[in-house]
Amino acid sequence: MISLIYLYYRILINVYKDKFFSKNTLAGMIILTILSLFFISFGYFFGYLVVYLNYHAELKLENLFFSIRQSFCIFSGVIILSNSLSPLKFITQLNFNTLKPFPLSKSSIITFAIITGFIDIRYLLLAELLLSLIAGAGGFSISFISALILLSLSLTLLYFIHLVVELIQSVIKLFGSMPKLKVISLLILFSGIIYLIILNKLTWIIVVNNNLISWNINSIFSLSIFHQGKWIYQLLMLNIIYSFGLFGIVLVIKIFHANLDSKHVTTKLSKTGIIRIKLSFLISFFPDKIKQYIEKDIRYIIRSNRSLLAIFIEIVILLFFCYMHLVHSKIYDHVYIALSFVLIVPVFFWDFFLSNYWGFEKKGFGFYLFSNSDLREAILSKNISFILVRFPLVIIVSVILSFLYSFKYLPVILLISYLLNIVSLMFSNFVSIKHPYPVDLKENAFSQTQPAKFSLIGFIGLLTYLILPVILLFIIYKLGIGFSFYSISILTLFIIIIVYIKLLSYSASLLKEHKEIIYKKLIKL
């Protein structure tokens, strides 16, 4: 009995003393206080912006740098506030040792950004303002009811986001073993759309005191938005209802997971769970000696969570782009081209990121070494399969962009896409040899098993990747889309293909030289 009491005593001392009464805790609390003050200033700043923009319409996003700065502030705010407001993270944040700049998962942050991004930028500013104020709400003399409502709103919003992330992760885990994947994906998509439609229908009216000099933190709460519209309660109810709904779905999926895990391995990945792919038609156009490699590599791409997630994110970005265009094109027409460029760049950037980390099949890599495989053919087929899998997506992106602007841009967009794909593959072949990365079917793009290393070749590739479209866009800007542009572009494509072929042979000889090192690295991972 005495031993047991001593055990509990030690646990209490060890766990709580160190956690709550150490110098580290003190340091953590000081930092949090400073951060809180920062949040308040942040909220004040954005509150000011909301008011200022409403009274100075001529400033509305006309200045690109202004809008970029705004977007940056919003994104930073989302990260910081998501950190500080997550109840679970808050406790660990008290300790200096565990105080991290990004304790939330990247997936949560990105999901949050995407969800709030679907709302108009003005709403985002408002949401930002509300969330920012929560952090310092206690320190100000605001009414208890207002604070409670704001707190509930923020927490339900965060909980909602948490559940969405949880749901996405649960669904990702089910890839490869979930026969009714399509049903769940559609469910999420529809529920998301309905949420956004309801949100869009709410009346978001800002009526403010026009005397900016007398404007202060208290006046935010005297804004008529808190008194006139019912939107805040509607949003609160919406969040709660959706949270309940999503919680139910997550629970069902988790139970399903548990059932899967408890079943014997022979039923875990049964015949029905495998995505059967008939690729014979697709690969029939290629020479016999590389057909089997292409077939295998395509199967790997389609079965890998990492690449599926990358494709999924590209689709989300595309939907975001279309949404912005269809809903808000009238508001943003001045900066529309710049905005669309900013939105499309990540798609191409993601291409680079994905192919850059296009790794080797852990133990399967050994087969290339003892069999009569030609390493040049193996690399070539990896590149071809990447382009083949991306082909439908590139077509969809190109057609949608052409539909939004003009169909005269379709060949231009296709040409630039494929130029960039080839450049990306050219450099990623080298990067994957210098920094071998294992293909892992279960790993998603947000949780890498090994940290990325800086690669000079990759960096040069990235620069080429970014500069090339800028040069081509500049040529379009100067010469227009005509004979000159197509001549230059086709010549560029031709040169790039020749360089690619030369570099392909070089990367094959480099792979041969490094094969022993790569093999050892891969089998250790």
Binding site: G176, V265, T266, K268, L269, S270, K271, I274, R276, K291, Q292, E295, K296, R299, Y300, R303, S304, E361, K362, K363, G364, F365, G366, F367, L369, F370, S371, N372, S373, V439, L441, E516, Y519, I523
Partner: protein, 257 residues
């Protein structure tokens, strides 16, 4: 069929193989036995082109491994230590891929795959991803993949480990059939007993050097002549004595047991 002359491998100052010389005739099954870290897998990895030797000469099927590696690789079958299976493919897809890489004719391949899957009781698992296979199933699949193109030489690293007795018997039958057709098999193992009923000849490797080599049927008599002890009860004792595995007697020091 396989000739190794003065083969050495140095891993950052650590000598894994020390001037190994070996000759394996055709139409034979050769056992390569040794404790962990003795150099068995290193030898096999060099012979199959997975890793490069530091020095030495290797001839397989009359070809020099340095100069004609692709010609050799077309005609050998391998089960490496790590099995080298593509976890993202199903069992059937893996065999199809391997068969196509080795150039097995399109009209023959499906039937051959079916026969192999049936023979190794893998038909019910043919549509499952390899990552879900048990160790024994993986080993059987690796074995099937190594023989799918009917190679002239087989290199097998611990092929019977984790395999059930029935499948082990089947694998041994396949190997005997190979030998009868004039082909050569080289097998590594930790256990001399495991190979006794299968191999024509065995070599024991320890610390990168061959310490004993004999026709399997002559092992006991050869040991008797060489070492003064009168009799050996088992091959296990012979193996331990040859590899000078001292330290076993230290079990006495664990007095608390």
């Amino acid at each position: 069929m396989i000739k190794i002359i003065d083969l050495s491998k140095n891993y950052n100052g650590l000598l894994a193989l020390d001037k190994l010389t070996l000759s394996i005739p055709e139409s034979s099954i050769f056992g390569f036995v040794g404790p962990n870290g003795a150099g068995k897998s290193t030898t096999l990895n060099i012979l199959t082109g997975i890793i490069l030797p530091t020095s030495g000469e290797i001839k397989i099927l009359g070809y020099d491994l340095k100069k004609k590696s692709i010609d050799i690789k077309k005609r050998i079958g391998v089960i490496p230590e790590i099995l080298a299976l593509f976890d993202g493919l199903t069992g059937e897809e893996h065999l199809t891929f391997v068969g196509k890489v080795y150039g097995v004719k399109k009209n023959i391949l499906p039937d051959r795959i079916k026969e192999l899957l049936d023979f190794f009781d893998l038909t019910s698992a043919k549509d499952r991803l390899i990552e879900s296979y048990s160790q024994g199933m993986r080993k059987k699949l690796a074995f099937a993949a190594s023989i799918i193109h009917s190679p002239d030489v087989l290199f097998l690293d611990e092929p019977f480990e984790n395999v059930d007795p029935i499948s082990r018997k089947k694998m041994k039958e396949v190997l005997n059939k190979f030998k009868d057709k004039g082909k050569t098999v080289m097998i590594t193992s930790h256990s001399l007993i495991e190979l006794e009923d299968l191999c024509d000849e065995v070599a024991i490797i320890n610390k990168g050097k061959i310490v004993f080599q004999s026709a399997t049927k002559d092992i006991r008599s050869k040991i008797k002549d060489k070492i003064t002890k009168e009799t050996y009860q088992s091959l296990e004792e012979i193996f331990l004595d040859i590899t000078k595995h001292d330290g076993i007697e230290k079990v006495k020091d664990l007095s608390w047991l």
